[in-house]
Structure formats: structure tokens, C-alpha cells
């Protein structure tokens, strides 16, 4: 028997600790063992709570909330397999550096390993996919144990928020009775203030870096998730150096609002063609590799040359898949970018950069002139979404084909909007819920999700959140009835009887029924003009809707091949 007042004070102290370190939102999944924490979070004015029955969707929703708000978000569930459903989102959060505070509730020690119902070993449940695991003490009401609970709430949230950010897991053994005593007055503790230093270079180190870079034939290569504001600094640095910049949609460089000719938004298409004739002296890489495989092959091809590779590694995690780093710079990215930009005195000569700009222009022209790009297909639809994003709009782009359409073909727009994705581990799971978490953070903005049919099916349960919380998300569904990505990979060489059941995997779902089931408006877009009009409306009338575009897996591949053939010819003419 636990004293209800003691338990309540102890858990209240923990919640206060989380609040002190910046938690203001929590996603709760119903359950019995979690009752006291659920009620304390629900009653706590400083915390906004969401409820979702499917813990997998709940965790991805929390991931989306945290991505869009850049704040730690708490998750709460009951004991047993409930917690195991969090695992996919936790793995993604660890890989993409999102601070989640996972609270699982558990049987007390005397009910473990004895066959008690709905109990399993929850210690270290998420292995090394969390930054920290804490097995909490059984609640007690003493001053010391209240301080302990506050401290754990505060420091675990702070741990999640430190670079590299990521999920932490706290397991709470709770004894019956599980109802908290909400009638007693609960004190508010004085908050703890955190003043945190960040890694930065000395002036000497900085000057040394700048001298190694400026005036050289260089390329900036940027990957990983960035906000449009952060992205602008990359572009400003490129302008200061007069270097081309290669990135991907997640970096938000293409959507940061700076219409710079230095942004090589179509690098994926032309970079393999130029490998042989134009080598940089230096490449400076930031964060993960960009999505484009062709960019990766290009970088790999530089290994045989004298090109020096700099790697600005903000997390210190050495995430350099090519293992070609010659100089690793471990520093907080944004102040470093600012400092370098301000201290550059020599611009690289025009001819190096002019050639890159020319390739980008040729590629853009090829795309514009191709008739198929003016008809409705998955590629043109994705590009139209990119073009129709309004200032401060939020676009979530799914794996695995959707993000590649944008990466390959989207040109720079001078509207600044924020593009999101789950590119930590690139799963097709949890996309709908993550996008809804994004939408819930800024529901008054334009909110769009670009997604394929398999990913939408995988996380269909997430749609319940849209209905329950009236989240005005526009879902653009690219429906090619199956796993479109495999038609671009080596599996396409297989015979149809091997390919379709294992890779094609048509699911034959009528998505107008899915829309109806969850109360979304449904439209099947038949032409580009119609889609254009629908997207135009999202700017003034945000609502929960599903817009379906019927695609074709084989047509996607043929269009890509056609583009490459025309482009190759044009680039050769240019030589």
C-alpha cells in the first residue's frame, strides 16, 4: 500500500522538475498503472496534454511536436507491450536528435518476474536507443524523496535537451492504489536555472579555418535537418565564399527564402555528369550526408584526388559514412557559420562558380521544357506542392519516394517555408503522426503532408489525432499502389512473380473511405490545374483533407530515365 498523498507529492515533484527544464506538452496513452501520472499531467496547467490510444502513433506525434517546437515533449503509457510500441519513434528520435521524455509505469519489484498480469521487464527496454535510462524509486513523500523526484525530472529533461539531443527513458514502479490525491494542495518548487556553455573555437582556430578555405575552389555540402533560419546562414556563407552549395530538402536551404544562384538544388541530376571534369580543392561538409546517392558517389570519387574534406561535426558523433574526413571541426554550427562569414576577406574567383551555376540552369531548363512535367504525375505534383508553399508554411515530406521527388527536381523558391521529414533512420513508419505533431504545433499556418500509399497505410491510426484535435492538415497522397521505391532499385530486375508480392506489394485500398472514416475531406486531383487550385486554398482555408493523386510506379522510372537522357545530351553539348 502506498500512501496516496505521498505518491501524489512525489510524482508532482517529478512533473515540476520536467517543467523546470522546458517540458510544456505531453502525449498520454490510456492505461491503469499510469493513472496517477496521467492525472497529474492532465491537471497541470503548464502542460498541454494529448491522448492517443495507439502508443506507436502517440510516440511519433510527440516526435512531430518536438521537431516543430524545438522543445522536449513527454510521453506516458502503462506497463507491458504498450511501452514496446514506442520503440520505432524512439529509434528515430535518437538518430535525428529529438528530445523525448519517455515515462513508462511499471509493477513494483514484488510483482516482477512472478507472472503478474501485464508485466514484463521494462528496465533498459529501449537498449542504447535512449541517452539515459532511469529506474525511479518507489514513491515516498519525504522532503528528500520529493527533491529526488524533482531532480530526476529536471536533469533527465536537461539530458534529453543537451547536444546531441535525444530521448531519455524513466520507468516508474507504482503500487496500488493508483489514484492520486488531487484534493491536497501541491507546492510549486522554485525552478532551477540552467546556463549552458556550447563548444566554440578560439579566435586562432577560427582564423586558421578561414585561411584554409577562402579563395579556394570549394563546395559546401550540407545535410541533416535545419530550420529555414539556420539554412539562411549556410547560403550567406556560400555567398561570402562564392561557392556552390549542395544540400537536400531537409536542410531547408531550397526553402529558406534566399533565391541564390549558388544553391545547386538539382545537383542529384547533373553531378554524376560533371564528376570527370571539375574537381574542387576543398569540400566543407555539415552534418549528415545529403539524401542524393549521386552526391555520395561524387564525394566518393574525390577520394582519388587531392581534394581536402572538412567535416563540421556539431554532435561529435563522426557521422561520416564515407570516412573521408581530413579535418573534423567540432563546434556549434550556427555561431561558427556566423563567425566564418563575417571574417572572410577573399572571394573565390568567378569561373569556378560560374560553371556550377550553368549546370544548375541547364538542368532547370530541361525540367521546365519536358512535357511530362506539365501533366499531373507524382513528380509534377510534388513540385507543385513545393511551389505552392506559403511563407511560414510547414511541409512534411515522407520517405521514401516523396522526399526524392523534391530532392531531385525542386528548384529554389523565394518563399521561406519549413520542410520536415523523418530522416534519422528513414523509416516509412509513423509519418502521419509525426506530420500531425508538426501541425499541432502551428495549426494556424499552412500545413501539408506529402506521402505515398504504403506510408499512409502504415500509420493510418495516426489520423485519429487529426480528428480528435481538429488538426487542419492537408495530406497529398501519391498513390502508386505499392512500394514505388523498389522500381528505382536493383530489385526491379526481378521477374514479376518475384517482384510484385515481395516488393511491389499493392495494397488496393480505397483512400476515399479512409478519409471518410477519419472525417477528412477527400478529393481526387485529376489535373495539375485542379491540384494547383486546391493547394491555393490551403493558404487561406486550412482544413483536414486528403487529396489523392493516382501515380504509376513504372511511369516514375521512365520519366526519370527520360530526364537523364535529355540532360546528358545538353550537358555534353555544353562541354
Amino acid at each position: 500500500m502506498t500512501n496516496q498523498i505521498d505518491m501524489t507529492r512525489y510524482l508532482h515533484s517529478f512533473v515540476e522538475g520536467m517543467i523546470s527544464s522546458g517540458v510544456s506538452q505531453a502525449v498520454i496513452s490510456p492505461g491503469s498503472r499510469s493513472t496517477p501520472l496521467a492525472l497529474l499531467l492532465h491537471r497541470q496547467e503548464k502542460i498541454e496534454t494529448f491522448v492517443e490510444v495507439d502508443e506507436r502513433s502517440a510516440a511519433f506525434f510527440a516526435l512531430g511536436l518536438s521537431k516543430a517546437s524545438n522543445k522536449p515533449v513527454a510521453l506516458l503509457c502503462t506497463s507491458g507491450t504498450a511501452a514496446a510500441n514506442y520503440y520505432p519513434a524512439i529509434c528515430e528520435a535518437k538518430a535525428s536528435h529529438v528530445p523525448l521524455i519517455i515515462l513508462t509505469t511499471d509493477r513494483p519489484h514484488e510483482l516482477r518476474q512472478v507472472g503478474a498480469p501485464q508485466s514484463m521487464d521494462q528496465l533498459q527496454l529501449f537498449q542504447n536507443h535512449v541517452k539515459l535510462f532511469v529506474e525511479m524509486a518507489i514513491p515516498e513523500g519525504t522532503k528528500e524523496m520529493q527533491d529526488y523526484a524533482y531532480w530526476q525530472g529536471m536533469r533527465s529533461t536537461d539530458t534529453a535537451s543537451q547536444m546531441p539531443k535525444g530521448p531519455v527513458h524513466l520507468n516508474f514502479p507504482l503500487r496500488e492504489p493508483l489514484l492520486p490525491d488531487l484534493s491536497s494542495s501541491l507546492k510549486t518548487k522554485r525552478q532551477t536555472e540552467i546556463i549552458a556553455g556550447k563548444p566554440q573555437l578560439t579566435e586562432k582556430q577560427l582564423i586558421q579555418c578561414i585561411n584554409a578555405l577562402q579563395g579556394k575552389k570549394g563546395v559546401l555540402v550540407v545535410g541533416g535537418s535545419h530550420t529555414p533560419k539556420e539554412a539562411r546562414l549556410f547560403v550567406e556563407l556560400a555567398e561570402a565564399l562564392n561557392w556552390p552549395i549542395i544540400s537536400d530538402p531537409l536542410t531547408n536551404i531550397t526553402s529558406c527564402g534566399l533565391d541564390s544562384s549558388l544553391i545547386m538544388s538539382c545537383a542529384d541530376l547533373f553531378i554524376q555528369e560533371v564528376t570527370m571534369i571539375h574537381r574542387p580543392e576543398v569540400v566543407v561538409r555539415f552534418g549528415m550526408l545529403p539524401i542524393s546517392k549521386n552526391t555520395m558517389f561524387w564525394l566518393r570519387s574525390l577520394e582519388k584526388t587531392e581534394t581536402i574534406i572538412y567535416f563540421v561535426d556539431e554532435t561529435g558523433e563522426w557521422q561520416d559514412q564515407l570516412k573521408q574526413t581530413q579535418v573534423a571541426i567540432q563546434v556549434q554550427e550556427q555561431p561558427f557559420l556566423q563567425a566564418v562569414k563575417e571574417n572572410i576577406t577573399v572571394k573565390t574567383s568567378g569561373s569556378w562558380t560560374a560553371q556550377w551555376i550553368k549546370w544548375q540552369k541547364i538542368t532547370e531548363q530541361v525540367l521546365e521544357e519536358l512535357a511530362e512535367m506539365n501533366q499531373l504525375n507524382e513528380t509534377s505534383a510534388s513540385l507543385l506542392v513545393h511551389k505552392q508553399m506559403m511563407a511560414d508554411g510547414q511541409l512534411f515530406v515522407s520517405n521514401s519516394n516523396a522526399i526524392r521527388f523534391i530532392d531531385r527536381f525542386a528548384a529554389v523558391e523565394n518563399t521561406s517555408y519549413h520542410l520536415f521529414g523523418n530522416r534519422g533512420i528513414n523509416g516509412i513508419d509513423g509519418i502521419v503522426s509525426t506530420a500531425l505533431g508538426m501541425c499541432a504545433t502551428n495549426p494556424k499556418r499552412q500545413n501539408i503532408l506529402l506521402i505515398g500509399d504504403l506510408a499512409l497505410y502504415h500509420d493510418m491510426n495516426g489520423l485519429l489525432l487529426a480528428q480528435r484535435y481538429h488538426l487542419p492538415l492537408t495530406i497529398i497522397l501519391l498513390n502508386n499502389n505499392g512500394g514505388g521505391i523498389f522500381s528505382f532499385l536493383s530489385q526491379r530486375e526481378l521477374e514479376k512473380e518475384d517482384f510484385e508480392p515481395i516488393f511491389g506489394t499493392p495494397i488496393d485500398l480505397d483512400f476515399s473511405l479512409v478519409a471518410k472514416l477519419y472525417g477528412a475531406e477527400y478529393t481526387k486531383a485529376e489535373t495539375l490545374e485542379q491540384l494547383d487550385l486546391l493547394l491555393e486554398q490551403t493558404k487561406t482555408e486550412p482544413k483536414f483533407q486528403l487529396i489523392e493523386i493516382i501515380g504509376d510506379r513504372e511511369k516514375n522510372v521512365r520519366l526519370q530515365e527520360q530526364i537523364m537522357n535529355v540532360l546528358k545530351e545538353k550537358l555534353e553539348q555544353d562541354r
Copy 2:
């Protein structure tokens, strides 16, 4: 670069090893890294393959296949979060002793911890929720490495199948190119034969046990999953001893086809009332505790008495939540039951047993006479399903309310059918897929799933399997629009503004649309007669259909209270 022929031979040897230890089914989720294993499984004649995009549903489907076939089942997915989606089903398999062979594919060592896409640490991914984790070697084609792969396939499957059965995990690092060479001829290895001994007692130990039990005022208490055939041995033992037997639906004692008056199917309802007046000298427990909380309280009350508790612990895991075992018998259950039954020479006197039979009869009468039980509600519908099961039929009963309706109210029928549930950890996740796995094993039998609305929503994705593989499952949906179990727990004392959002959690889904989406026939049953007719049809026309019964969370509680009031009175009159 891996030699494609070498990789193919290595992986083929592994698959042959699994087959040698009894794998004949595999559930595959599409992905790129898993391509060679997927194709080898797909092409292997001795293995039946199923494909499901949502790995969470795939794993629960495999769980259901294995439960119904009593054979090890393989699971295959690609790298990244895909594997994490298996976690809930793996936890349940570990707790409920189901042999699953989890095959995850992974980046090779040189692409780990370097930010390669769709990669994360998969070593020990499922912590101690698997019996065995093996990090496989990079494929090589030598005789030695082919033998190694065969050996690992054979022994890991055997490990999964040994008592206590459970899941094992093998992680395969694979290098590109990922296409196997299916043109080359693959040799079939001579299979390894396994002759395994099981724990059994010596004759002396056995006689000692029998002498301690026979003639005493005793009760058999049986929990855990058993087949109807296994269940009959429990009943036969009870008959030989002339002891009452308390169990739960999962034991299949109520549905084993033996209409014995010794089966206390309504013990949950009357046992608390009799605690004070009738104490056994011995209790013999088998496996887990039965579901009934009242039975647990009754067992706990015996601690103050001289009653001796025997615990037949087949797994040796000491799963005795009450920790009251005085004699632990570690032995294989079935041969032990048989041997005890055959050697009993003294029956317990009639008066002890007659009193138990009387209580059971009184309870059955109360239930029969209650008007509400003759109207359509969640309780009466559940009972009707139980009554309408045909010989060899398969019924899957969901957590958390559905199983309790059957446990409390179902009387013994003389038809032998097989009742299944996920009672390892009692989650509401994965129920639909597990039931479909059951159905896929014996699709020509009567196959019924009894489920609530939250559990159906949680695993709605599983319905795609029914559509794709034409699985004729009848789903009886008890729809009380939310978490009905909480209305029976202490949370019901909360104010409505706290209760409904966190525990009631109405989801307001139109399940006729769900049926339409996945191609199931839909009927809303309005009367018991109509439901009766529909259930009658399942005996001759198995088909994929959803039958909805509208329930009411508060009415469930009131009916339960009403029954208890009437019953209390009748039992008091009897004293």
C-alpha cells in the same frame, strides 16, 4: 562487394537449417536490405510465405500462426525502425512462450555508426525479451561458413522450440549487391535429427506426490494457455481425485468438450462469497494464475490457513505472483497429469465436492434467470459466441473486457473448440493480426474473433492480411466507444472531466467503413436472435465479416452489480 553466389549459398544454408528444426512458415515485410533472404524464403518450396507491410501486424500475425500450429515461425524485415515495430509481439511471445525466429537484416560493420541511411544499432535490439541473440557473420561461401549458417538456423530454431519456448533474434549484416543468384543450383543438406528428453519424475517422487494429494479436500487451479486436448487431462485428473477445478477460458477447460460438473466455470462470481466457510487442505496450481482477480484474492486468503499450495511449474520460471508455493513440482505437465491420474487409488469424499458443485449450479441459475442476459448486450453476446462455437472451431478472445465476459459468465459446453488469447502481457495491441494468424492456420474451420473497439482500432492495419490472403475470420465487435475496462476499475470514481479524456477515450469510428475499406461484410446485430443466426451461419459459410454489437460501458458495470446482488442473496439463503 559480396560474391552473389557465395551469399546465396550461405543464406540458403541458413534457411535449410531453420527448415531442419521445423520452420515451415515465414512472414516477410518488404524492404531492400532483406532482399536475398526474402527471395530465398519466397522461392523455397518447403516454406509458406506471407507478406505484410506493417511490421507490427506482421509480427503479431506470425505469433498467431505459431500459436495455432504449435510450430516455430520465421519473421523477416529490413534494417532500421522496421525491426523496432516487431517489439510488442516479441514481448508477448516471450511471455506466452511462442517460438518466433526473428530475422533482421543490417548494414555491414563498415556502414555502422557512420550515419549511413536507414541504419541503427540492431545488436541486442530486443534486450532480454528474446531467448537468444545472434549477430551473424558476413556471408561467405566456404564449406565451413555454409555449415555455420546451417548450424545457426538449426540451433536457433531449436532454442526457440525448447521449453520454455520463445522468440530468438538473428541479425544479418549484408553487403551490396543485395540480389541473390537464384540461377545457380543450391544443394539440400541432410537434415539433423533432434531427440530431446523432457523433465519427468522418478516413480518414487510420483508416488510421494500422489499420496500427498489423494483423498484430501483439494482444489485444482489451472491457468495459462492449453489446447482442448491438454485441457481434457486436467478434467480427467479432477474426476479421478473428485476435486473441483478452477481455471480460465485460456486453459480451454470450459471448451474442451468434457461437460464435467467439477468445472467451476463461474468461480469468479461466487468464490469471494464462500471464502469464509470452506477451506481446502490442498491446492494444486498449474501454470499462470487464472485471469479472475477474485480467485487471486481467494488464494491469498488461504495464506492464513493450513492449506498447502502445490505448484506444478513446467517452465521452471517460478511464475507464482502470490509467492505462496510450498511444494514446487518441476516437470513436464502432460505426462505428469497422465501418470498421477492413472495411479490414484483414493477419491476425496463426496461432501467436499458436492458443496462446490452446488455453488456453481446456483450461479448458473442466477445468470439464466436474469432478464438482461436474454437481451443483446456485450455480456450476452460474448456468451452466445461461446455457445455457438462448433467442434474444432477456433475463437480468439481479445483483452481486456472481452476475455473477462467469457471468464465470468460462460458455462461448460460439451463441444470441444479451441479458445486463444494474448495473455502473456495482456496488451490490447496486435489482437486482429494474431487472430488472423490463427485463422490462416486452419482457414476451413469456424474462426471467430471477439474484440472491443479500442483493440480493433489499435491493430486495424492487420485487416489487410485478411483481405490479401482471403482469411474467413468473423469479427464480433463489442463497441462501447472507448476503454470499457476502466469502468470496472478504481478510475471510475474520477470526475467525468478527468475520466472521459484519459480513460473513457471514445474514438467515434464508423466501423461499417472499416469493414468496407478492407472488403469485409458488415452487419450490425440488433437482437440476440439475429446474432444467433449470424453465428449459426459461420459454421457452414466461413467468410471475412464484421458483426458489430453496440455496447454501453456503464450498463456493463450495472449488469455486473445486479448479478452480484442477486447471487449474494441466493448464496446466503443456501447457508
